[in-house]
Symmetry: C2
Subunit: 305 residues, 2 copies
């Protein structure tokens, strides 16, 4: 992200380091993991990522708990573990999406993809292992907050992230409509982004009603994030993105760009972003942590990587 | 399984039907699942399987709860949902293990494998979706019994089932020793079988100490089950097995057969089986449900499919 105020950049980097720290500990602590499998998981997990989902989770936790003076359901170090689990789930989805049978990509987060650096079988297993480990991490929380597992597992399940990837692949044989793109983006990207914010809210002590509002806002935030991703595919270089640019167009992917053209896709993305940000602001009320979270979200559809 | 007493066969079939019933409901209930993904999950899930792991879970639940007159942590219909989740995890592992990049198999449970009936990408996603759905099912229990998620997720994680599959693949480049085969079989097969029994015990109200004993017995039961699998690869036909026979030898898989030869592998399998059965009998004490569970376990290393 460019033109990020120094203070925000420092806060993001601090949070990225704490997420990477917990990820390292969680992977290392898993007894009996074969060396090659651990190295493959670490290869993808510790490639330079934005750590967006875990940071959204943590900052929403802060906004709900600290700003709102609610009684948290889990300590912040517990929330950091959940944030790590969410990043594992996101990383597993990248590893599998990049496989030859899927999007067949060789570059991700500025590194060779997992199946290129290792081999296909190991990449499939590294993804499988990260998914299982993410849920094991949730299962070791004491206590496991009610509703957390359902929230996260549903977001990445057949009606969420995995279903979105299936629709994305199926769309290659079908006419691309705005409704289809919306369904794909909602499931494949927005579901986990919304679940990350909502999980933060849940852990921070939000009521069910507040969680519902945050989830709705999170879906729009996620759609704006994915909209920006579609735009970047044509405006940015592979070097900037850390993944192959221009692939959507080449693969005739279902994107708003294809349905709407660049300018209308851009205004659609901005519309989702502004609406999501506004809804989240309304739900959270005020406070320093909420302000910081909203500023981050404002950057998501204006990013350059 | 042959030469099964009529009463046992009827009990197994009844339980298989209830497991298949809950699986059907759970998959159908998942809102937003794309049709092709759901059909791929169902293809593998409803191929004729033994449903061994869910039945071990349910019968251990009965033995601990009913026979032992303990206070259950979950109703039997709740335990049936957990049993369904365990079968989903097992099925996902079969789908991924059969992929071209893994064991590259075309036949499973008497049907074309998932990637043959659909395509590779869909098979990867069907496996991913079943894993996520299994955890979502656990997450929707009310309440989610403490320790259940950790138990199940650890069993299928990088130090368990997924790690075992990695070691199995890695073994193709390494000398096969008895210690290596033990490690592979323990992680790849015995971990989930032991976790199924232990989950049943946990839900049935077993103390931590009793669960520990059942888990240890379950590892030996799982080793005997896998030992029988290795033997069947050379003695049974593909038709009997519902999967390709003779593949271990052809692929030079790490099995006890390769380390020990047939007869010693056979007596090793029987030794694990008898010891596991005895330990489980000691842990459970007596009762009709325990007797039935132990009889089933006695059949596991004498099976012909």
């Amino acid at each position: 992200m460019t033109a990020i105020p120094t203070e925000m950049r420092a806060a993001l980097e601090r949070e990225q380091r704490s997420v990477e720290g917990i990820l390292r500990r969680l992977v290392r602590a898993e007894r009996g993991t074969p060396t090659r499998l651990r190295r493959a998981m670490e290869h993808s997990l510790f490639a330079p990522g934005k750590r967006l989902r875990p940071i959204l989770l943590l900052w929403c936790y802060d906004a709900v708990g600290r700003d709102g003076r609610r009684r948290a359901r889990l300590s912040r170090s517990g929330a950091l573990q959940v944030a790590g689990a969410v990043e594992m789930l996101h990383t597993y989805s990248l590893i599998h999406d990049d496989l030859p049978a899927m999007d067949d990509d060789v570059l991700r987060r500025g590194r060779p993809t997992c199946h290129v650096a290792f081999d296909e079988a190991t990449a499939i297993l590294a993804g499988d292992g990260l998914q299982a480990l993410a849920f094991a991490v949730l299962g070791r929380l004491e206590p496991v907050p009610a509703g957390l597992l359902d929230l996260v597992a549903t977001a990445v399940g057949p009606g969420g992230m995995v279903g979105g990837q299936q629709e994305d692949l199926d769309a290659e044989q079908q006419p691309v409509t705005a409704a289809r793109v919306l369904s794909i983006h909602r499931k494949k990207t927005a579901a986990l982004i919304a679940a990350s914010l909502t999980a933060g809210a849940l852990l921070g002590g939000a009521s069910e009603q507040l969680r519902g509002k945050i989830h709705e806002a999170g879906i729009e935030v996620g759609l704006a994030f994915q909209g920006a991703d579609d735009l970047l595919d044509v405006t940015a270089s592979s070097d900037q993105l850390g993944k192959s640019a221009g692939k959507d167009a080449a693969a005739e992917k279902a994107t708003w760009l294809r349905v709407d053209g660049f300018e209308r896709a851009q205004s659609r993305t901005e519309r989702y972003g502004r609406r999501g940000q506004q809804r989240l602001a309304d739900a959270l009320g005020g406070g320093a942590s909420a302000t910081r979270l909203l500023a981050l979200i404002g950057m998501l559809w204006r990013r350059n990587r």
